[in-house]
Symmetry: D2
Subunit: 291 residues, 4 copies
Amino acid sequence: MNGQDRYANRGRLLVKCPDGPGIVSALSKFLFEHGANIIESSQYTSDPAGGTFFIRLEFDCDDLAQKRSQMEADFVSLANDFDMEYRFAYGSERKKTAIFVSKEPHCLLELLWEWQSGDLQTDIAFVAGNHEEARGMVESLGIPFHYIPANKDIRQQVEEEQSRLIEQYDVDVIVLARYMQILTPEFVEKYPNKIINIHHSFLPAFIGARPYERAYNRGVKLIGATSHYVTNDLDEGPIIEQDIERVDHRDHVADLKKIGRSIERRVLARAVKWHLEDRVIVHGNKTIVFQ
Amino acid sequence: MNGQDRYANRGRLLVKCPDGPGIVSALSKFLFEHGANIIESSQYTSDPAGGTFFIRLEFDCDDLAQKRSQMEADFVSLANDFDMEYRFAYGSERKKTAIFVSKEPHCLLELLWEWQSGDLQTDIAFVAGNHEEARGMVESLGIPFHYIPANKDIRQQVEEEQSRLIEQYDVDVIVLARYMQILTPEFVEKYPNKIINIHHSFLPAFIGARPYERAYNRGVKLIGATSHYVTNDLDEGPIIEQDIERVDHRDHVADLKKIGRSIERRVLARAVKWHLEDRVIVHGNKTIVFQ
Amino acid sequence: MNGQDRYANRGRLLVKCPDGPGIVSALSKFLFEHGANIIESSQYTSDPAGGTFFIRLEFDCDDLAQKRSQMEADFVSLANDFDMEYRFAYGSERKKTAIFVSKEPHCLLELLWEWQSGDLQTDIAFVAGNHEEARGMVESLGIPFHYIPANKDIRQQVEEEQSRLIEQYDVDVIVLARYMQILTPEFVEKYPNKIINIHHSFLPAFIGARPYERAYNRGVKLIGATSHYVTNDLDEGPIIEQDIERVDHRDHVADLKKIGRSIERRVLARAVKWHLEDRVIVHGNKTIVFQ
Amino acid sequence: MNGQDRYANRGRLLVKCPDGPGIVSALSKFLFEHGANIIESSQYTSDPAGGTFFIRLEFDCDDLAQKRSQMEADFVSLANDFDMEYRFAYGSERKKTAIFVSKEPHCLLELLWEWQSGDLQTDIAFVAGNHEEARGMVESLGIPFHYIPANKDIRQQVEEEQSRLIEQYDVDVIVLARYMQILTPEFVEKYPNKIINIHHSFLPAFIGARPYERAYNRGVKLIGATSHYVTNDLDEGPIIEQDIERVDHRDHVADLKKIGRSIERRVLARAVKWHLEDRVIVHGNKTIVFQ
């Protein structure tokens, strides 16, 4: 049984609603009556008194492909009763991912590695680079590579080309794998909570450019990386994952960059994986991550 | 509102049964109909096909003290339907803990510290030591200290005294906080999954005596500690928690012991905390820890 | 042999000078000719070409108490040859430490614990608190406790009292163990690189007040603590040590504070320990830490 | 300046001798008089009283290629004076590495990645596999790949072929990157402290086969990997590096293997890197690692 078949009858239901009694009971009754077996359940209440309730249910259901439209239709009235925002997702429908990259390939390579091992539940629709370096590697895996030279003077034109590809390939998630170009507000607004970036510092320390140089100058004893959804406030979007490594006075900027690369690659890979498995819910400017 | 009041209406329901459809639905319906609001829910299935299902539900319920006997009575038929083993626990009924200690006080001190900060949901019934060192510290906190000299020749007599105290204080949990005496099989069998030990190695490495000396001789680059339930197989009981620290060639045995003390104290404190919050379920010789 | 005797013949030599050939050779020849055996040697060059050279030598020397003044006298000409700044320190002369504390005792307790275990090479001259909470604990260890109420209106008067005590006890190091008062520029300037603070964030993130609240609002996935020398730029002094712990969306501000306390206590304890062992050299606004 | 040029004038001197006064002085004087500038110095004494002294000196020296034979000749008498075992190594002479691999490529890939980034100071002479999987990847980097099918019945014949290649390519280090074959005592004895293995457990826990299965059955809360020199005691050779990751009850054997792969790859990469930089000294059955 390959990875995709394994998830053929797998569904996920994500719900957000005002907290109150009876929600879990109603949801689990609904799934039971539709023949679904709950595999994993994670819940969170922003505030025990009068807060917002979040739940992620992962379930298996025989013949899910046949049953799902009926299930979704039946769910409407339950959702209305509890004033739910909700979303169904299906293991049989893998998300389509586009990866944007510049010169440095380490984050791209880590994603391709995880994808090859079957650990990223996605189809990689294409890789777009404003440099050619990654073409060989990408194409050798049967993934289309699009070379789109970029600089700040032709930003709009570049993004038109990117948007065209995103539409053509029906992309669900855009991963900025050390893509060193600023995106326009218009582009960002088109893909809310769908663009995942890796920033090479432990945010909110060292927002903006040249974080390793500034970390070196400040004399910090740990350096980090942060993966977050892109918003139009620079490096201020909802944080999905962060990690750090220890450094010391002997580490010059080049050493920090090298150590940083290994942090960046694992932080971004985790964030993308969780997003693809519908484990990340954005709430205000923060994330709930149901691991 | 102090810590105890905060948990006055808090209940926990732990269930183990053959996996099958409808369990979560039935449980959440039951709690909803009894006016209980689920605060936290954690589940695990040992095997998706034909395995054992485990769930821990933490809930708030107004007037729980009044309602609980009715709730327990009503639960019997549901439990029968699903062939459940189960247990209710109540925040208003703090578990009673006895701590056994020898000369080295670091694990005892960590537990007392956590307890003073309100982070251990327990009453410390008494501390028993086969040395007098800890008496001052313990009694200054208003906790009874019992000095019970011990050696292998008077083991039975020592354990009779200990058992008498355990009965007198109605103790629920016995923590061996670096208590350097072997317990008899009879004593261990009286308290299954109720005696928590800290072993000063990363089990199953260095089972038995003098683990730091043996770690030094083997030249390991990490040392660890393991907290586990005591069974009559030496250092083979179900593991609750483990952790490690990095060491190097410069660390002699005395350094390993010092580094080890800080690992031991945090590993034991975590294990005891989780046990007290009914987060640990023993399954065969392994534990499920619902953090 | 107790801890102090163990260091009776132990000396340390710290040197800073322009890098160039022959420095290590000259220093090791000097020590050899004075009968000193090098136990530990750590060096660092800020820049292989034309940088500053730093070295810390720890040595044992029989009858050091008798020989040291001659050794120091002889060293002058070598130091002149290489344009060295340097400092000798002796294991027989334990540094005297004052600890300032407010209400929260966890950092103070950690330092007292380490000191009791013989792991801090210092005499604790006194503890000064602007609250009375810690008095009992401190005095039970035979350490003087001075209660000096403080607020911003009487800052000068408070600091006069503190300075008087520092002089009276001949204090070498002042540790701010979560002492929640701002120090005046005059006070700070009197004790350059001698005041060690613990800040409850991963600097430079969350400089200033209420870092845990701000960490919570930003939705970070890791929280940290930073120990640094105090300068007159708030939270901008040379960093000695930092560490972090993982948190998640379930952790409210109170949880972050609790987790943070365990980070703060170990970060401060490490920084103080290294300072007392003359392992920390300030260079510009950064530190070299010879572990 | 590329990586190799950067090390053109770089030398290393490793020394082991009975501890005593004057060693550092004599060594640093020697290097100074031969125009060498000490870049890094690390020392260790197995026992302050009557132990063995170890030092690793890294130095830069103009025109080292011209001077080195004279330097080595001059060193003989100093070495005799102190009864030294010693070894000079030169940055201009990169070690030659052979990598043995079976089916699983993750450790090989990590080494190739580090090598491509310039972080492994070595020439990869060849990769030998008892499966063909890695051929494409290896040859695309210009590295020879030798397919040598292996099983226990043809062990001797396989090792003859391997030895022939090792001799032909003048190999200095053999890395077993998850090479799942047992080596004969004869082969192991030919390459003492030159064969580096990665074992997929936290040794000495789970010596031998199927460590992840056994870790799963024991219910450990951390899994690890160990890189060590190969000796003829199975999994008992000197440990170079170890690391661990946290797991929990939800992780089945397949999950442990996946998590383990990421531990294995970084542990082996570190061990190989340190070996190549002459940072590892074997002493008895332990290692001194001068990081």
